[in-house]
Symmetry: C2
Subunit: 225 residues, 2 copies
């Protein structure tokens, strides 16, 4: 099924979505109904501060309140059209962007949160904090994705990088009682396709491993919704 | 030479320093002259919100102004003693923590900033932004460290993970005219020693590769100062 999706990048200090989707240098236009998102495909509209900077090297040196004001405009002043889902990509943490997301979007209903982590203990501490944030503000955790689970160079060649002998994301999910969505290996070809603005799903060159892992995760999320 | 060093972790939403230094569960004490840092060694005092949370899983759900107020207290109300250097570890970005660091510390003189990145294009975009931030606020860039430069499993076994065919951090440094401090490989043994609170410098088990790379970088920074 084809969904109509909006993708909102609220990492205002380090927006990566334009680069990763090959949309660098695109400009936002003001239409009658507000700012128009940039469309990658007819069913995927994207909004990011990366489209609004005169120079891509410019730093956005803003404190919380100013970031929150732009976030609000991204929701109110953008002509998202009729969309089934809006995916909000936040920077790490439990601060302005996350509090704003809850405040501004909760009235329309938030399906839930996907937490992305790496396998080592130092990162899993933050998964517990994100989970505690979700509990406090009343958000459902749709699940946890373990990224950079190890290095996959071919189907048979997998190397562990971060130590998971004390249990990785899967174990912490069991303990917290939230769904584990899957592991995404580090994959040199996936990194290359992101840097070169190619979709890892369409790209024959991209490793089957990481693309397949991502596809399984997406299917899990969409099916369980 | 032995320096007296203070280490201030201002990643309030995701403090990693206590875990990485094996100081989890330590409590901050209030002395006559203010909060006492936790000492790892007689010449290394550490301050982190991680020492102040009743439960390590708790999320710190604070907006910018409240984060800035605690940052100020970490500088004013902590009895740092006579120190030669204070190292401030910030989260990524160019927002509250970074603006506060400049505002609160600049009068005492800031030697400069070390930018840590990974090799791929998507991260190097942010290096340019950090550099632009430093220019705007008048801070010197001491140099750039490239972390996760590839996977090193033994002296002879090195695998590139992120694509650096378009140039990694070294090339961007040349272009920007800032010092390149060195590359730190991904090293399963380094990750393990960080997770298990062991110093990679003292630890015989830890890979010589990453520890040696880190040592060279430290020497470069201290010598050039």
């Amino acid at each position: 099924m084809e969904y109509q999706v909006g993708l909102l990048d609220v990492d205002l200090c380090g927006p990566s979505i334009p680069k990763m989707l090959g949309l660098e240098g695109q400009d936002i236009h003001q239409g009658n109904l507000g700012w128009s998102p940039i469309y990658l495909d007819s069913n995927l509209g994207i909004m990011s501060i990366g489209f609004m900077l005169p120079n891509p090297d410019d730093a956005v040196i803003w404190q919380g309140p100013r970031k929150n004001a732009l976030f609000k405009r991204f929701l109110k002043d953008v002509d998202w059209g009729e969309i089934d889902y809006i995916v909000i990509d936040t920077p790490p943490g439990t601060s302005d962007e996350h509090i704003s997301a809850v405040q501004y979007v909760q009235t329309t209903g938030i399906n839930g949160v996907i937490i992305v982590t790496t396998p080592q203990q130092v990162s899993l501490i933050d998964v517990r904090k994100e989970r505690s944030f979700c509990k406090t503000v009343g958000l459902r955790v749709l699940g946890v994705v373990e990224n950079m689970s190890g290095l996959r160079q071919s189907v048979s060649d997998f190397t562990e990088v971060f130590d998971s002998s004390k249990g990785g994301a899967e174990e912490i999910c069991e303990e917290m009682g939230v769904p584990f969505l899957g592991k995404v290996p580090m994959d040199p070809k996936l990194c290359k396709s992101a840097d070169e603005d190619r979709s890892c799903f369409l790209d024959q060159q991209s490793a089957a491993g990481a693309a397949r892992a991502l596809k399984r995760i997406i299917e899990k999320v969409v099916t369980e919704e």
